[in-house]
Amino acid sequence: MSAKHSALDAIRERFPNLSDKAKITSPETSKYNCIAYAAGDLERWWWPDTLHMDYWPAGCPRTEAIAAFQVAFETLGYQPCANADFDLSVEKIAIFHKNNVPTHAAKQIANRVWSSKLGQSFDISHEINCLSGADEHTYGEIALFMCRLRS
């Protein structure tokens, strides 16, 4: 890797569908992950792990299932919705999966612009399908959109 190799170039090697519109929007940190970020929590790692190391909302199924992630976001007032269309009156998130196992969540920040925390790495802004794919590091496909009224 050359010195001129940017962080975005490095990210693009893992997410080859990332367009030129993508931007890094935060320092790199392992404090929180994509689920926490979509939930608005920048202090904790959210995951329903069986070792009970990570945070998971009380009362939600601690299983790696799309339904469990849906219930977790329902505790924050989100409900399933039809699509990624921008609506100024609501906040939207998208939950990604591979083989029905959740892999990622992103939140909508503007018309056709979404924001994601990439694991232990950066937050980025991106188009909704740029992180999809079947490659090892990509996040599969979108399983579910959810929204809640903007406060």
């Binding site: 890797m1 940190t29 904790r44 995951w47 190391m53």
Partner: protein
């Protein structure tokens, strides 16, 4: 966790993106490797680099601990506990899960779940009580 221990800090990339590179290209452990009594130390650090590279953009801690590099770290057993403690003093991450599996204990209080810095502090406090 009742004891705060200094030394845990959040670490950024510092402008270097070598951690996005496969470790075989960014470390020197694949050359001039000599067998010694401390082989497990080098093996631990080699596995840790590879594991961190592979899991850098993953949010799933379940996926992280399913990686073969992680399983090999756990298989190294109790002798790598001090090495993991040293790591989480500066880089508190999910390598702490290896401590749970190796020691069969978890000193992290429920209120600290998911807070990697507080989790590392709990493990460091536990280790300093044990040694």
């Amino acid at each position: 966790m009742t004891k705060m221990v200094s030394g845990v800090r959040d670490t950024g990339s510092g402008g270097s993106y070598d951690h996005f590179l496969p470790p075989s290209f960014s470390d020197g452990l694949h050359t001039r490797y000599t067998k010694s009594g401390d082989d497990y130390v080098q093996e631990f650090h080699r596995l840790l680099r590879k594991w961190r590279y592979e899991t850098l953009t993953s949010s799933s801690s379940t996926s992280m601990i399913s990686r073969p590099e992680f399983k090999r770290i756990v298989a190294l057993g109790e002798k790598v506990v001090p090495l993991i403690i040293d790591e989480i003093r500066t880089t508190p991450d999910h390598v702490m899960a290896a401590l749970v599996l190796i020691t069969d204990t978890n000193p992290v209080p429920e209120r600290a779940q998911g807070n990697l810095t507080e989790m590392a502090n709990a493990w460091i406090a536990w280790y300093e009580c044990e040694t």
